[in-house]
């Protein structure tokens, strides 16, 4: 499945692991924070509309 990367296999694979890992972490943290902030805003809006 993985192509023969020869003597540089570790070098290439580490580059991919580090980069893709960082990209996934960036997207993941952005989405988690985005959902948390949206839920918090909706909660405050509902509370305010209830209290007039």
């Amino acid at each position: 499945m993985i192509p023969d990367l020869g003597k540089y296999a570790d070098t290439v694979l580490w580059s991919y692991v580090v980069s893709i890992g960082l990209l996934i972490a960036l997207v993941g943290f952005s989405v988690i924070r985005g959902r948390k902030v949206r839920a918090e805003m909706e909660k405050v809006e509902q509370r305010m509309s209830r209290n007039g």
């Binding site: 070098t11 980069s19 893709i20 990209l23 949206r38 405050v44």
Partner: protein, 257 residues
């Protein structure tokens, strides 16, 4: 519609509601586009391109290193543009867009530095050298960290936006140096531009260029990184707008008792 009218229509997006509505409509296209381009580009580059005659299989690092480095610089340029809009026109969305983009820039710079070091070790025999391009990239990374720290350190959001905008103007020198350092100082280990150079692509100059066999998947990865950047900026700016609104609502609640 005249050009002036079109330019004026652009300012409508400075309205947070308009920005949120539009970004939510277009975001799925950017997420899907980014995912498709990155998956196809990386699989193509990793599995279906041959080893380079000089660099062996390490050439496959190009599909991550070059797009990340490109976006690290362009992210700062985008922050510069939105910071200028904030300083001149005081549109909050533009200041929040710059704030939202900074962590993306940090990750892109980190990927470029990490893959550069991993690639450099077998090719140059060292993880790091105080080469003009590498050094200016490291300074750009430190500017990104300083920019985020400044936003976090100042409580008043307008003051924070003012000061971070000025920092962004200063840091722009290093964003441009990161791109052109190799042209200014003809020294160091890092090669000159061999991808985004008109002459290199068309083959009209005599310097070595990236072969088309690597260039096409690389182009797809670059498009993927650009689309991912746009999607993340839209999404994160929306988050910043909502966080700001939540703070304002809570302050109003406190005042009203």
């Amino acid at each position: 519609m005249t050009i002036a009218a079109k330019a004026n229509a652009l300012w409508e997006y400075a309205n947070p509601r308009k920005f949120l509505a539009t970004s939510e409509r277009v975001l799925p296209f950017f997420w899907i586009g980014a995912g498709l381009c990155l998956v196809v580009g990386l699989i193509w580059g990793f599995f279906f391109t041959p080893d380079d005659y000089k660099q062996g299989s390490t050439v496959k690092i190009i599909y991550l290193h070059v797009p990340a480095a490109l976006m690290a610089i362009n992210c700062w340029i985008m922050m510069l543009a939105t910071s200028l809009v904030w300083l001149v026109r005081r549109h909050h969305v533009s200041a929040l867009a710059a704030r939202a983009a900074a962590p993306i820039g940090i990750v892109m710079t980190l990927i470029a530095l990490a893959t550069g070091a991993i690639w450099g070790q077998p090719m140059w025999g060292t993880w790091w050298a105080w080469d003009p391009r590498l050094t200016s990239f490291l300074i750009l990374f430190l500017f990104y960290l300083g920019y985020v720290a400044l936003w976090e350190a100042i409580e008043d959001p307008d003051t924070a936006a003012d000061l971070t905008s000025v920092l962004c103007l200063v840091g722009s020198v290093f964003a441009f140096l990161s791109r052109y350092a190799v042209n200014f100082w003809n020294q160091g280990l890092h090669q000159g531009a061999s991808v985004m150079r008109a002459g290199a692509i068309t083959g009209t100059d005599t310097e070595e260029k990236v072969s088309n066999i690597y260039f096409y998947p690389l182009l797809l990865c670059i498009i993927g990184f650009v689309l991912l950047f746009i999607a993340l900026v839209f999404y994160r700016t929306g988050t910043e707008i909502r966080a700001r609104r939540t703070k304002a609502l809570m302050a109003r609640e406190r005042v009203n008792g």
